[in-house]
């Protein structure tokens, strides 16, 4: 069985984000920190668990983007993926889901994967679109926000639990090949092992040039990004930590909430 895991490199949103001069994307500097999209970590871990439970599984990880995304592909290898694929897409700035999905589908279509996994959402654009778009382009079934799956290789089926709102979960059976977007909580992503780190450092990545043949022009434009306005009603408490604590206690007390 062949599994493809699609991973995105995102900027660490815990760090402070600066906008680029035209306000259309964030400014990338030498000190900008990137990491693997949190949701994709769970997708990769799920693939590794499937591999451990079933003989003869190979895992490819793929990422679309400029050369810096090679880092997350290597990270995928260091966690235990067999092959790393980098689809070089040199456009600077924002790359919308439709373009990424076209690149992944273009590559995956030639490789006959049985299962394609990716995170439920990318933390940077938060659109939740690449997974279902890729499945649609490949004409394979897709389940989103998956928190459990069970593969039946004999009948080439996969039973998944796909999360809905407010604690409801739907069970769905898909035929393989299929694409799943993975939700957090399904597993605990592992840390890279030393032996895999060593292998990842020496292993060549599969370099693929982006193909623009089937790509329809993107009709969505990101005009600008900006910091959100602070709530107009907000009161940011000032002073020393002790003074802030006192102010909070007064607020709680005035609302009769304290014991």
């Amino acid at each position: 069985m062949k599994i493809l895991v699609c991973i995105k490199q995102v900027v660490c949103s815990e760090s402070s984000l600066e906008l680029n001069p035209n306000g259309k994307w964030i400014q990338e500097t030498d000190s900008t920190e990137f990491r693997m999209n949190r949701f994709d970590e769970y997708a990769l871990e799920e693939a590794l668990l499937i591999k451990e439970a079933n003989p003869g599984v190979t895992i490819d990880v793929v990422s679309v983007g400029p050369n810096r995304v090679k880092d997350v592909v290597k990270k995928g290898l260091s966690k235990g993926a067999d092959n790393g694929v980098h689809i070089l897409y040199e456009e600077s700035g924002y790359c919308p889901p439709r373009k990424i999905a076209h690149q992944i589908a273009g590559y995956a279509g030639k490789q006959s994967y049985d299962l394609i996994l990716t995170g439920v959402m990318a933390e940077d654009d938060m659109l939740c679109q690449v997974g279902p778009m890729t499945a649609s382009l490949l004409s394979i079934p897709c389940a989103v926000s998956v928190i459990k799956e069970e593969i039946d290789l004999v009948n080439r089926m996969i039973t998944v639990q796909s999360e809905m709102e407010s604690g409801k979960v739907e069970e769905v059976i898909l035929s393989l090949p299929a694409l799943l977007t993975i939700q957090t909580g399904i597993n605990q992503p592992r840390y890279p092992s030393l032996s895999n780190i060593v292998r990842a450092n020496s292993q060549e990545l599969i370099d693929v040039q982006a193909s623009f043949q089937e790509e329809s022009p993107d009709k969505v434009t990101l005009l600008s990004i900006d910091y959100p306005a602070k709530s107009s009603k907000i009161c940011i408490l000032e002073g020393s930590a002790e003074e802030k604590a006192e102010q909070l206690l007064t607020i709680f007390h005035n609302r009769s909430l304290l014991k």
């Binding site: 984000l17 654009d125 809905m164 009709k219 009161c235 006192e246 909430l257």
Partner: protein
């Protein structure tokens, strides 16, 4: 000039999600001056009567799409059925309320009909006759403005973001209902059942105060700090972000948000929670929101009433100690 809109409601076992009213309100607001032509699509197993009733109540046209496998929201089947309906009706906007399933429908439709798709819309404005849509990015730390170059766009709308109510269009005498019964089956995607996982424990819903832990607590041991703070209130319960529950630091019964519990206590005390829309969906209706976060730009501050920019590891013990002092020396 009039613009046509297709709005797609969601049903589970023939029960329509009440948020369709919000969807109607949003649809009507998209084109306030012109004649709004709205078609509300209601997919489900057995929804014709429901579609008729909603058509009459709201004076709109409705379309019931029926199939056994539509008893739950079924993005796979809908992406096959909807393109033809859309081609016939030629809407400018195709809108759904936002959740992961509708995002899936939106994204797959976007490929099927080759139209742009913007998910998670929080507001919009008209700039030079083009609609510009605003949405959260970077875990809520930035907002992005997006426009499209075509006359047809697929949108998913964040619940609660639009308050506009729907006034029926009186130029239509009676809302008409059409029905499409689907025969084809899709063996590659079979819905089986829905499992309820949310705990019946109502402590969170009944508490006056919810003290909530996010990943800012960094370590499981610091849940004790949260418990200590909860104990200073007369009626408090403990909640958490999804990631904290994913780590097993709190049980899932404590998870607040889109996929957890929705609460509206008198006080919501968010400790080390970034405040993405998936979390705030579960607590933004709280009476008063107090947030502690060491990052002054954390998105939780855009909905909080009081903000404390501090490291909670040092701040919460100070808060607890000050409370104890007050108790001893009132």
């Amino acid at each position: 000039m009039h613009k046509k809109q297709i709005l797609i409601a969601e049903t589970v076992e023939n029960q329509i999600s009440p948020s369709y009213k919000e969807l109607l309100g949003f649809g009507a607001s998209l084109h306030p001056d012109g004649e709004n032509k709205i078609l509300l699509i209601i997919p489900g197993q057995n929804v014709e009567k429901l579609a008729e009733q909603i058509a009459i109540e709201n004076n709109i046209h409705t379309l019931a799409i029926e199939h056994e496998d539509l008893r739950y929201p079924n993005p796979h089947l809908l992406q096959k059925i909807l393109p033809e309906v859309i081609r016939k009706y030629m809407p400018s906007y195709i809108c759904m309320m936002h959740n992961v399933r509708t995002c899936q429908i939106a994204a797959s439709l976007s490929i099927q009909i080759d139209a742009p798709c913007i998910t998670g819309v929080e507001s919009y404005e008209i700039q030079k006759e083009k609609s510009v849509f605003t949405r959260m990015m970077f875990n809520g730390k930035l907002i992005g403005k997006t426009a499209c170059k075509t006359d047809q766009v697929i949108l998913t709308i964040i619940p609660g973001a639009f308050s506009g109510s729907f006034t029926p269009d009186h130029t239509i005498q009676h809302g008409k209902t059409e029905i499409i019964k689907i025969n084809e089956t899709a063996s590659e995607y079979k819905p089986v059942r829905i499992i309820e996982t949310i705990s019946k424990d109502n402590r969170l819903e009944e508490a006056d105060v919810v003290v909530s832990a996010g990943m800012g607590i960094e370590k499981e041991e610091r849940i004790d700090l949260i418990r200590k703070i909860a104990s200073i209130f007369s009626n408090a319960a403990i909640g958490g972000s999804r990631i904290v529950c994913d780590h097993g630091w709190l049980p899932y019964a404590c998870q607040i948000g889109e996929t957890g519990k929705q609460v509206s206590p008198k006080l919501y005390f968010a400790c080390g929670i970034s405040g993405t829309m998936q979390h705030t969906a579960g607590m933004k209706k709280s009476g008063c929101i107090v947030a502690i976060n060491k990052d002054p730009n954390a998105p939780i501050f855009s909905i909080a009433d009081y903000g404390v920019v501090e490291d909670l590891q040092s701040f919460l013990p100070i808060l607890a100690a000050r409370y104890d002092d007050r108790k001893k020396n009132p």
